[in-house]
Symmetry: C2
Subunit: 455 residues, 2 copies
Amino acid sequence: MNLYESLCDLVGKDKATINETILRHHSGDESHHLKVEPDVVAFPESTEDVMKIVTFANEHKIPIVPYGAGSGLEGQAIPIKKGISMSLVRMSSIVEIKPEDLTVTVQPGITRLKLNDELKKYGLFFPVDPGADASIGGMAATNASGTLAVRYGVMRDQILNMEVVLADGRVIETGSMAKKSSSGYHLNSLFIGSEGTLGIFTKITLKLHGIPENIIAARCTFPSIRSCVDSAAAILTAGIPIARIELVDARSIKQVNHFSETDFPEEHSLFIEFHGNQSGNEEDVDFVKAIVEDMGSSHFVFETDSLKRAHLWKARHDLHYAFSHSYPNLSILSTDVCVPISKLPEIVEYTRNQLDTYGLDGGVLGHVGDGNFHTALLYNPQDPDDIAKANQFNRELVSYALKVGGTCTGEHGVGIGKIQFQKEEHGTALDVMTSIKKLFDPSDILNPGKIFPNS
Amino acid sequence: MNLYESLCDLVGKDKATINETILRHHSGDESHHLKVEPDVVAFPESTEDVMKIVTFANEHKIPIVPYGAGSGLEGQAIPIKKGISMSLVRMSSIVEIKPEDLTVTVQPGITRLKLNDELKKYGLFFPVDPGADASIGGMAATNASGTLAVRYGVMRDQILNMEVVLADGRVIETGSMAKKSSSGYHLNSLFIGSEGTLGIFTKITLKLHGIPENIIAARCTFPSIRSCVDSAAAILTAGIPIARIELVDARSIKQVNHFSETDFPEEHSLFIEFHGNQSGNEEDVDFVKAIVEDMGSSHFVFETDSLKRAHLWKARHDLHYAFSHSYPNLSILSTDVCVPISKLPEIVEYTRNQLDTYGLDGGVLGHVGDGNFHTALLYNPQDPDDIAKANQFNRELVSYALKVGGTCTGEHGVGIGKIQFQKEEHGTALDVMTSIKKLFDPSDILNPGKIFPNS
């Protein structure tokens, strides 16, 4: 059987391709994981197209790997077992905006920046901000979060309902349009973060938020990375409803200045943002200023101008590119552990020291308000020693995080890179997850080889 | 086989009983559903006790119904198929408070008031507030919420991790101690709201919050129930971060005044609360005052005194008792639909009118910030016509809610009373839920007869 021709017969010539360039484009994501080309790329344009393709693939036991914007960092979109890469790019429209309900229903292919452009007209925004211009479907599939999660939560907190095509072609809705429900099992949260292994998302209803009446951004620098994180912990336990609180270490600031032509002082820094009404924000800012100055901070700088604020956050978000574009011949391994806040200072300090111990170059940065941080670790993919060191560094960091009650991935997902830690993190619960996967996808056609050891 | 003696042999004489009074005490909850006595009541004192009892019950296909505080409103704790009522009352301790992580780990039997008494010492509180002094285990099992959900979310938003004993005796952890995670499937949310049908919770780790620096309560009255709900919707869409916003109709206010010896004006009212810093709250209060006065509100009254505030909310929370204790010979059917905010004004008005159409007595009240409201419907359980009218009223209200994209239960859960609506609400997704139930509990020993039609 010729897979390409079968798909053409099934959904139409214009919705499947074996064009070399397009196959290559769907062979990888933004991670360091090895690229693998699919046999075919499919471009469904409707839920019905998705149903046809999935049903066909299930009959013939052909792998299907959903593809959104390709901005993933753990290889979720890489078709490591070949088969069909299902691009959702043609399912990128807004189905319905309901400003009075503070909800929007979208197709999975739409990216978050395009969505927020549309929402601006209504004075609304969607707050989950992973930095990259990811697709909403991909963000749901990995339970993405990012800089605003400390205030607004993660994807799982922001999704009311999804339309999902199951491996056997059945279509279900996982929630409702009500803001809360205690009716039946919560399928929403089971599918969110399932990384394409349980079903294909074809519609997603999101909660929206009013653009805050007043926003103040601030940054401050610290003599040590430890005092940086201690301050963040102090601000959180003081109960100040911070909207963003980001750690960027001196090494990363240097890279930002180089790439984004900024001139931030090249010291360990916190970038902070406040959302609320003006008087409330000003009181919170004063409180935070007092806390960080107690902790030895200097250069406490405000940013109320919205353009300058956007510039500041863009610089922070471009960090991954700041490293990757500056070192085209090196790969970046991005770690993603998340730990209880009280353990954050010690593990961040440990991480910074480990980089030096291993003689590895990289930046430490992250969403310290959630206990989640990343190491952008530079290594030479041609050098076996370098690869070994990077992997060893990552393994030791994850073991540390798990020992203190944390997780191997706060927001990037398991994909390929975190499979090795699933048994250690979840124990018997991993067997339960495996049995759920088998229940939903007995032929293992939905993104096979992801999340589960030897699936 | 004598079940009682077998349990005594298994866990010890002091941990099982067939005492008539105790059996009767475990035959019902606070709902209108018919009471059924269990064959035995078991009092496990550890996870190991629970494992032993569950494993034994699974071998011999004996129903197990977990029992917390008995404050449920849909019969979840009623052992309708007899067997074992498993009281968690002896597993009611705080395992560990971690103020620096803003988390606490508890056993399921502890009640929320006892927990909050302990947390006060640390300047912390647990915000999920269903009114009744429910057990944390029961609140997790029904995904309870209540008056503070509009600001702090529901149980599902507040639980980091649970220890759960499965039907086959395996023990799993459903999450981690990290504030967020993208590792594996989200078992937390699958078990939360599963009403004892998937496993028995033996440990629960909750997120905590700092007691707000400043709290202001307010109440205001409206000429019509419609303007009441319109105002709530306007406040929400204005993006004001309200902490509580409760509708109490004139009929309910009358009952509150009678039962709680308060003297609130007997008109349709909103009870509101603001959490934050002082200047922020004051600015929000002014904004809200302006909105509600535009909507024709009068009697806008503040309450900053914490005792008076507590008194106000206690009156609101005692509403169910205010009706039940005043009409000892009548039963109360409490409806629990939740709809998109924009549909709330029309459905609340519809509900108030339906009461008159049917000539039924009852109050309309609820968590209008979430689109969730209740009808405390009085009926005579000895009068078949009255019963028929009450059920008809409830069925029509749920159909209305489902038609506009809502749910049959916002916070009480399915239990017995909402089973009849599961197929209509979930469609094909109900088949998926049923297959998950069969996967976890093939012998159907865990709270059989709940949630699922003819299970």
